[in-house]
């Protein structure tokens, strides 16, 4: 009846939240956690499908007319009585979305809710002894897990090592200290990197002598994860360690400028390498992928694909751009490092 539109599009004229085209939510409040971090509480406009503690949410918002997406760990209880959800965000200096969430957006702002993703979760069945290791804003999924343990009354024997620069900068520091004071089964160690140096594998034997016997969950920056994973592997107990790197792997920026990169095409299931100045389209074709194209000069938008991971360089302007979920023209963009594209 309303072709080519959906009846939805007309209902949305009356109230935009009635549209079921996309999952949306409304920010209820932004609660400051530390100087640099805040928890954004959102009321989903549609019933929340639930999540597992430790998972993250892709959340989108429009900033100056452009929709951006990021993934943040969920810090709300999966079965919140009022169906609210929250993510806790640390401001990344020079970032686009994190400062917007922590400083600009306020109650009433509309946000877009993407998928709940992530394999990071409490071991099932729950082991006797647990070891939690976190650093910086890597605390967020660990916090969700600890709350879950508390709810289930299973804070039997949990050692938690957390690395933070200062005691005040410890996100969820106050409630966790309280938790430790009330529960004998939960031992919290805060390592202030400003005084005692960063938390490394060398600290393990001192802080948690029986670490080899525990199931471990680790969330922190990439270098830390790499080092710890190696350590567990060396002991031959890598299967006892679960990790989550909270920094998405995007163009790290340390590759030489415009030096090209590699592309994974997820639909055609091809891998390609693009030398400097070679577009994703050409690289893909040389690797044998059949890709859509038209003008091959950036005007017709026939060749677009959705960027899943990584960043690209516009071969015309030299500008490096791209974030998860953005559509890019493969004929005029080259990979900057590794990219994953939906084509």
């Amino acid at each position: 009846m309303t072709t080519p539109l959906l009846p939805d599009d007309y209902f949305a004229l009356l109230d935009p939240r009635w549209s079921t085209r996309e999952a949306t939510g409304t920010v209820l409040r932004v609660k400051s956690e530390t100087d640099e971090a805040a928890t954004v509480v959102v009321r989903p406009d549609h019933p929340w499908p639930g999540h597992r503690p430790g998972q993250y949410l892709r959340i989108g918002a429009e900033i100056d007319g452009i929709r951006h997406w990021r993934a943040y760990s969920l810090t709300s209880d999966p079965d919140h009585p009022r169906g609210l959800v929250s993510v806790t965000i640390k401001t990344v200096e020079g970032g686009k979305m994190s400062p917007w969430f922590t400083e600009v957006c306020g109650p009433g702002t509309s946000v877009f809710l993407g998928n709940v993703e992530g394999e990071f979760a409490l071991p099932d069945p729950l082991p006797e002894k647990l070891l939690m290791i976190s650093a910086g804003s890597g605390i967020t999924p660990i916090w969700s897990m600890l709350r879950e343990l508390q709810r289930r009354g299973r804070l039997d024997d949990v050692v938690h090592l957390h690395g933070t620069r200062t005691a005040e900068g410890f996100i969820f520091g106050a409630p966790l200290r309280e938790l430790a004071a009330e529960n004998d089964g939960y031992k919290l160690h805060e390592q202030l990197s400003a005084d005692d140096g960063r938390l490394t594998t060398e600290n393990l034997d001192d802080l948690c002598p029986d670490w080899r016997e525990r199931s471990a969950c680790l969330s922190g920056p990439r270098e830390m994860i790499d080092a710890f994973t190696e350590h567990w592997e060396a002991e031959g107990i890598a299967d006892q360690l679960q990790t989550e790197r909270f920094q998405p792997v995007i163009g790290t920026g340390d590759a030489e400028v415009g030096s090209g990169g590699t592309v994974s095409f997820v639909v055609t299931d091809k891998e390609a390498t693009c030398e400097q100045g070679i577009s994703i389209l050409v690289g893909g074709e040389e690797a044998g992928a059949t890709l859509p194209y038209g003008c091959r000069m950036g005007i017709c938008h026939t060749c677009v694909g959705v960027l899943r991971e990584g960043q690209v360089r516009d071969l015309r302007s030299g500008e490096v751009h791209g974030e998860q979920g953005e559509t890019v023209r493969t004929c005029v963009n080259a990979p900057e490092g590794h990219v994953v594209i939906e084509l």
């Binding site: 009846m1 309303t2 072709t3 080519p4 539109l5 599009d9 007309y10 004229l13 085209r21 996309e22 429009e62 100056d64 007319g65 452009i66 929709r67 951006h68 038209g294 003008c295 000069m297 005007i299 017709c300 938008h301 026939t302 677009v304 015309r316 302007s317 979920g325 953005e326 559509t327």
Partner: protein, 416 residues
């Protein structure tokens, strides 16, 4: 409205070889095609300058632009809903008239300012999946996919290259003397009227490549696949406009059907006029394949500039034409949001003036009549190159009149 100055189109017969830099190559109708008078360095320079205009706008896109397209889309939906409701009472003549006018306007807006431009990817930068060239569909017979191929790719890449750009005459009309005449073009004046009335259907089958079908170059299977796509889309359109909505008016369904039919025809005539005025008026240049072999990006820009023509008008006119009245700007920057064309027009004109290039434009009726004249003339064999305007020259600044207070010596500003 920006002052457009005297349109170059109104300066007739500038083709006398007297303007700067043109060298007459005897018997060559393209002797004055400015593309061939520029050095390759100049062409590259022009290309870079145009690219800079594009990049500046791209960097500036934001909230204001997003609000613009959303408000237009919302306006269109409200107008459509309202018109359909009014048409339920189509048995009363005023309701019929009002509903038909509203629906025609809505359909024009939807096709021109919204559909055409969204499908070009002009709003892709917003990263909003609802207003995106990859997901959009429009209220017309042709499918979004075939349109994007025949228009965004073929027409905008090979603009006005005879033989490659299938929009030059759409493979069944002769609108340029470089196209070879054959007797079937004698029917052109009649076909022209049909195309005006049923433009959306012409556009729908356009991507099927009639030329190839005639020559038997296209497989039966490919033809069937195309027809199926068109059939599905067209079926839904027909069902909506000619069955479901008329049914809502009960036993007066005929009146509503007539209203919907009228709205579609009005939209067809209008979009046909705007689109034909974009490339077929006298001022626009066409090119042969040899002429543009080894074309660079700069050359592409110059060809776009020369091959298109603007239409002068007020803001409402520009809106209703989907800003295709800024055809020149649109062809230079097909994926720039249409709402920005007016803003960059002065920069484009300045570049034209600097490099002695024409800026093709003219009032609506003049352009439209030129097109009709060409169509009639070229139905018959022969026909020469149409006279082309000279380089664009900015109109002189009108002398400023400042109000002065009477009886006081010397000019004193009354309203400083």
């Amino acid at each position: 409205m920006t002052p457009t100055g005297p349109s170059t189109a109104t300066i007739p017969g500038t083709n006398d070889g007297s303007h700067g830099g043109a060298s007459r190559r005897d018997g060559d109708p393209n002797a004055f095609n400015p593309l061939f008078r520029l050095s390759s360095e100049e062409i590259e320079e022009i290309g870079e300058r145009f690219q800079k205009i594009h990049d500046e706008v791209k960097a500036d896109l934001g909230e204001r632009d997003a609000q613009y397209i959303r408000s237009i889309i919302e306006f269109h939906r409200r107008l459509t809903a309202l018109s359909r409701i009014v048409l339920m009472a189509s048995r009363y003549p005023p309701a019929w008239l009002l509903g038909t006018a509203g629906l025609s306007t809505a359909k024009i807006l939807e096709n021109m300012e919204i559909g055409h431009n969204v499908l070009h990817g002009q709003w892709d930068w917003m990263n909003d999946p609802q207003i995106h060239s990859s997901t959009w569909d429009w209220d017309t017979a042709s499918t979004a996919a075939s349109w994007k191929h025949s228009h965004n790719y073929v027409h905008h890449t090979y603009t006005n290259i005879i033989g490659l750009d299938k929009d030059v005459g759409y493979e069944f009309m002769r609108v340029d003397p470089k196209q070879k005449w054959s007797p079937e073009f004698l029917a052109q004046p009649f076909i022209n009227v049909l195309v005006m009335l049923f433009f959306e259907w012409g556009v729908a089958i356009h991507d099927m490549d009639l030329e190839a079908i005639k020559k038997g170059k296209k497989s039966k299977k490919a033809i069937m696949a195309d027809l199926k796509g068109i059939g599905r889309k067209a079926g839904r359109q027909v069902l909506k406009d000619y069955v479901l909505f008329p049914a809502l008016s009960g036993k007066h369904w005929k009146k509503t059907l007539k209203a919907n039919f009228t709205a579609n025809i009005v939209r067809n005539i209008w979009s046909n006029a705007i689109i034909f005025c974009g490339h077929f008026p006298d001022q626009a240049y066409t090119f042969t394949e040899e002429e543009v072999a080894d074309e660079t990006r700069g050359g592409w820009y110059v060809r776009q500039l020369l091959g298109a023509a603007n239409i002068e008008g007020n803001d409402t006119f520009h809106l209703m034409s989907g800003n295709l009245s800024y055809q020149v700007e649109h062809h230079l920057f097909p994926d720039m949001p249409s709402s920005r064309y007016k803003e960059i027009a002065p920069k484009v004109k300045a570049l034209c003036e600097e490099y002695g290039l024409p800026y093709n434009t003219g009032p609506f009726w003049q352009q439209w009549l030129m097109v009709q004249r060409t169509i009639l003339r070229l139905a018959f064999p022969g026909g020469g190159e149409t006279p082309k305007p000279g380089p664009y020259v900015a109109p002189p600044e009108p002398p400023r009149q400042e109000r002065t207070v009477q009886g006081v010596e010397g000019p004193i500003k009354a309203f400083p």
